[in-house]
Symmetry: C2
Subunit: 309 residues, 2 copies
């Protein structure tokens, strides 16, 4: 594939879609809102209009937050009305190419971690945004599990006797108490303030919810470190930009580790970067022949620094 | 190594030591109480007397429930006064042989699972006795983690805001609420009945503790199935012989699975068998040249049936 490409590298989130448009050695970063028309067909139509750049696409790599099997969305707790639909077929029509690769967004994030931290043989990548997901690198390889479903971190049960039902069907999931959406719901429930923005984070009740959520996240991470005996954790996602949450999550992991096995644990926060999109780029670079200039342009879109503990 | 061997295959538990003594094509199964003199030297002396069969040993394989690094016990929450001692050096003296192999007991249990269920590429082995441990098989191999500490299942935190301190140093560990010792302590605490036997299991308060403990265990297993996406779980250990506990643990895992991803999950209870001892045998057979007759005698000591769900 020469420099004459016309490709998309896309990260689909519950509320926002970030993507890179690759064209004639250039790489432009853009984003649109994820359609929320509560109807799969209408959502697809809106997406199709957003990506209608007029010509056949060379290839598309998509980081997707739901569970997909044979092209069909098996589970996407954030948009259950998308479930049961063949998303690959739709993207083939939408982009007029069969070169479509879909990867679970946190598996893509884990691939980004592997690229940024090549010395980590075993690592856990976690993203905390609207939902919570993870990707696991074991023995230098992405571990995807028996059925390709590994790493559903948001649906780890943390409150064992809770009655609060999660969108996945379980009760007491981490996502209910520690994700952006989960914590905003808890705030709404305890204050009756129904405003949909992030101002709740500055409210005293909001701060308590963030603090507790971060402890839940931190202990869940410590549990996974304990189970898998890994020395490296990389945490990404918009919620980590909040000072209370970030500090408490980091402190909790390190305190738990110190109490028991005191490994040489490194926890790095990479909240300034879209790891899933970077991972999708790494996958695109490995899979498709992209020119050196385009590669450079693609990778230039990502900062590499993180906050360490 | 001909048929003229004189070897030990040993499973050291917190309260009981089960072992096979291999001699002249014969294999005898025996057990002794684990010494509890609260002093490492005295415990070693008692052990040494128990194993004093008069002659040099050919080889020893030991399944041990604590964490060992370079021969030194790093952690054994059930017997902290053994920590910091080089156990391999002691066994070399005790058995008068350098052919000593020590393996973490639940890793041995996982090796037994691999032997009994050779078709499982990925599986989780859990033992619930005095404590709770696990061993993980991923891609047909034992997964032991970055530092050899993988699978500390008993020290997964399940009660995130509990103040109850575990012997490992953390608070709210699974072992405190779902292990034999943990549940017996909870019973003693709520009834002031300080009797040390298993009669508490028949008491109405004891039954509630067992029921709740089994839910904690079941949800912890479901969390691990969710994180690692494995289809096979094998549960061993004396506590599983209790009807309430066994049934509720099985039901909980299956209910949790049904709510979310509905994998083809198989959970097998192998409580009638000492999986760690069997695993140590498999390891001994793989490592040392044992005659066909002895092999047959060794393996004849283990039933292979389990209760499935």
């Amino acid at each position: 594939m020469s420099n004459n490409i016309r490709a998309f590298i896309i990260d689909i989130g519950a509320s926002k879609i970030e993507y890179l448009f690759l064209h004639n050695e250039k790489c432009i970063k853009m984003n649109i809102n994820t359609p929320t028309k509560m109807d799969f067909e209408e959502d697809m139509e809106q997406l199709s209009n957003s990506f209608n750049f007029g010509k056949k696409t060379t290839f598309v790599v998509i980081a997707f937050p739901g569970i997909i099997k044979n092209g069909v969305i098996v589970k996407w707790p954030n948009k259950p009305y998308w479930e049961g639909n063949n998303i690959i077929e739709r993207f083939i029509q939408m982009f007029d190419t069969k070169s479509i690769l879909i990867v679970e967004d946190c598996n893509a994030g884990a691939m980004a971690s592997k690229y940024i931290f090549p010395d980590c043989s075993n690592s856990l990548f976690i993203n905390v945004g609207t939902g919570i997901g993870s990707g696991i690198i074991l023995n230098q390889n992405l571990y995807s599990g028996e059925n390709g479903f590994a790493g559903e971190f948001g649906h780890i049960v943390v409150d064992y006797f809770s009655d609060d039902i999660c969108s996945c069907g379980r009760t007491g999931c981490l996502q209910l108490v520690a994700s952006g959406k989960g914590m905003a719901s808890l705030y709404k429930k305890s204050t009756n303030d129904q405003t949909d923005n992030t101002k709740w984070m500055n409210h005293s009740i909001g701060k308590k919810i963030l603090y507790k959520g971060a402890i839940y996240l931190g202990k869940s991470i410590a549990n996974t470190v304990n189970l898998l005996d890994i020395n490296n954790v990389h945490i990404s996602g918009s919620v980590l930009k909040n000072d209370i949450y970030r500090k408490q999550a980091l402190d909790t992991v390190m305190q738990e580790e110190k109490k028991f096995l005191s490994r040489k644990l490194s926890v790095v926060i990479t909240s300034e970067m879209n790891s899933s999109l970077l991972g999708a780029c790494i996958i695109a670079i490995n899979k498709f022949s992209i020119s050196a200039t385009t590669k450079k342009n693609v990778l230039a879109n990502f900062p590499r620094d993180g906050e360490m503990s």
